[in-house]
């Protein structure tokens, strides 16, 4: 168990450096010049040159990256070019809402996906199986923003059932929960289809195994056979899938936050990139990469916990 954690953390280090470097490069090759953005329109070439020097923009790329890395390690992510606030501070406000949103999305997607997948497996070949599998394909091929726009159109505007702009406060308040419903279900719905399909596949395989027959031979109810014996052993591939889909979840979070005006890291990333806010964009990329690694670490831990042959 401990070995798994250590392995995962060791793998994370090069991944993080790579992510930082790519984020760094992307913004270097971007056509806009951060110095020009700071100086504003009509700045003299002299002012621009001074600013470039101040920002370290005149140095070789690798040196700039090394300097950047050094600062990041000290917890200094620089200052926003736009509003001069420390990046780390802005990120710390945005991280909470993003974490909350992703957690709620998983709380929607995982139980619903697993329940639908199990139901489809047990009802294999009947109409309910077909309906579930067909709608999961439909869900798979529908982009996240489409779902978001449809949800806003009907639940938000047309029927006026739920708020769809911004965060309503902490989750323990009624307004906080109401504001969470649409973004979380929208984001979660991206994962429901894949989880349901994987659960069905894994479950169908497990249901033919000898120990399922043993469980039935004891006289256990079919519900207990399926939910305890079969599901428990069908879960590891599902958990692995969730880890593999973590990228979609993060990408979906960026889109969802932007559409629902959710004050999270994803929205911050989009606005930073749009306004050429170099340090801020790098900071958001770093946070998103770290969340990706954390999700995968959790997946590994859950995987171990599910299978006693690895756990011990």
């Amino acid at each position: 168990m401990l070995r798994v954690v250590i392995n995962r953390l060791l793998i994370s280090i090069p991944v993080l450096i790579g992510v930082l470097f790519i984020g760094f490069l992307l913004l270097i090759v971007a056509p806009s010049d951060p110095a020009a953005v700071i100086a504003g329109e009509g700045a003299t070439p002299e002012l621009l040159a001074v600013l470039r020097q101040e920002l370290g923009l005149d140095r070789p790329v690798l040196e700039r990256f090394a300097l950047y890395l050094q600062r990041v390690l000290q917890g200094d992510l620089g200052k926003s070019v736009i509003n001069k606030a420390p990046v780390i501070e802005e990120l710390s406000y945005a991280m909470g809402p993003t974490f909350e949103l992703m957690l709620c999305a998983l709380l929607v997607a995982v139980p619903v996906g697993i329940a639908l997948g199990s139901l489809a497996a047990v009802m294999r070949g009947r109409w309910i199986d077909r309906v579930i599998m067909m709608s999961s394909v439909a869900g798979l091929s529908m982009p996240g923003f489409m779902i978001a726009l449809l949800a806003i159109q009907y639940f938000g505007l047309h029927w006026g059932l739920l708020p769809f702009q911004g965060r309503g406060g902490p989750l323990w308040t009624w307004s906080g929960i109401l504001h969470m419903v649409l973004p979380a279900t929208t984001l979660g719905s991206i994962l429901i289809g894949p989880i349901a399909r994987m659960t069905r596949t894994a479950m169908l395989e497990v249901l033919t195994l000898d120990y399922i027959r043993t469980a039935r031979a004891k006289g256990l109810s079919e519900l207990k056979v399926v939910l305890k014996h079969a599901l428990r052993t069908a879960l590891p591939p599902v958990v692995t899938l969730i880890g593999l889909q973590a990228g979609y979840l993060l990408g979906g979070a960026v889109v969802t936050e932007t559409i629902f005006a959710w004050p999270g890291v994803g929205r911050l990333a989009i606005s930073a990139i749009a306004s050429s806010d170099f340090p801020m964009a790098q900071g958001t990329i770093l946070v998103l990469a770290v969340s990706f690694l954390i999700i995968n670490l959790m997946v590994d831990l859950i995987y171990c916990w599910l299978d006693p042959r690895i756990r011990l």
């Binding site: 120990y211 031979a217 006289g219």
Partner: protein, 328 residues
């Protein structure tokens, strides 16, 4: 047999079961009939693939879903027709009235639950008792089958046990609720000789003390000689010979049975598997006309390739399905 006839524990009548395969539906057992009385042991012998396991799964209604299906016949347990029970009623029979020990010990236990939880679960499915009491009963069951250091085994996972220990756990699980009938499908294959003797002794005890009926499927004719009251010999999904053990061993009638028993004296020395009868196991999808055994039968006559012989009494309770067997 007389007391068993009056009130048989289990009476299987003309059972026919089919399995759907890629090449269509295949009848895997037909016309299988037998009885097991309380406190008695029936051994089923025959080459692998002849339908022994399918017969036991049919009794328990645990055929592979959705491929397996009972096509005809009845399974009467203490006068109740199991084939007519609802799934819910059948569940109460499984594990409480009738238990089964499956053939494959390595895969019969769920890898993610402890031995203790899988044992107590079998108990709690049928009886009301507290966790401490259930644990104590599980411990007792493990002791009974001779698992060394049973306390620590309760908290172990299946992969931490050897094949033989796992097989004994499965047997302990089947006996936990003191079933009236135990179906044991090659239960001692993974066990060494001493443990095997210990398990068979346990079966004998339960047979005597609780009147447990036993259906024992085995390849080991030594075990048959030692345990059986009655024997049925199956070939290609049919019963070809049936009767009291002594009669079957001393006066086998069907050429297939004669082939099986041919090398019996040597068997006990070799602790042998079932002796090989020359020829190949028939394809159930393309069974020959007439007697299923005739292509391999050294004594086959023209009639054997045309008409299917039915089980006929040869002497007393001893019946054989062969045109050459003398009628009683």
């Amino acid at each position: 047999m007389t007391q068993a006839e009056a009130n048989p524990l289990l009476r299987v009548t003309r059972l026919r079961t089919s399995i759907a395969t890629d090449m269509g539906r295949m009848v895997v057992i037909s016309d299988v009939s037998f009885e097991v009385g309380a406190g008695r042991t029936l051994c089923i012998v025959g080459e692998s693939g002849c339908g022994k396991s399918i017969t036991s799964l049919s009794i328990m209604r645990l055929l592979p879903k959705p491929q397996g299906r009972i096509e005809a016949g009845h399974v009467s347990f203490l006068g109740r027709d199991l084939t007519a029970l609802s799934e819910r009623e059948m569940r109460q029979v499984r594990g409480r009235d009738i238990s089964i020990v499956f053939q494959e010990p390595m895969t019969a236990l769920n890898p993610v639950f402890t031995i203790g939880s899988q044992l107590t679960e079998a108990l709690l499915a049928h009886e009301r008792c507290g966790t401490a009491q259930a644990r104590a009963r599980a411990l007792g069951a493990l002791r009974e089958v001779g698992i060394p250091d049973p306390e620590s085994r309760l908290d172990a996972y299946p992969h931490q046990l050897s094949g033989g220990q796992r097989q004994r756990v499965v047997i302990a699980m089947a006996l936990l609720c003191r079933p009236k009938l135990l179906i044991a499908d090659e239960p001692t294959t993974a066990l060494d000789v001493t443990v095997q003797a210990q398990i068979l002794e346990l079966f004998r005890q339960l047979r005597n003390s609780h009147g447990m009926g036993l259906i024992l499927i085995t390849h080991d004719l030594g075990v048959v000689a030692e345990m059986a009251d009655d024997v049925i010999v199956m070939y290609a999904g049919r019963v070809v010979e049936a009767g009291p053990v002594a009669s079957i061993f001393n006066r086998p009638q069907h050429p297939y049975t004669i082939g099986l028993l041919g090398s019996l004296p040597k068997v006990s020395e070799r602790q042998g598997r079932l002796p090989i009868v020359p020829g190949t196991v028939p394809n159930l999808m393309a069974l020959p006309e007439g007697c299923g055994f005739h292509p391999r039968c050294p004594l086959a006559q023209r009639r054997c390739a045309v008409d299917l012989p039915l089980l006929n009494a040869v002497h007393g309770d001893h019946r054989a399905a062969c045109w050459l067997a003398p009628l009683d």
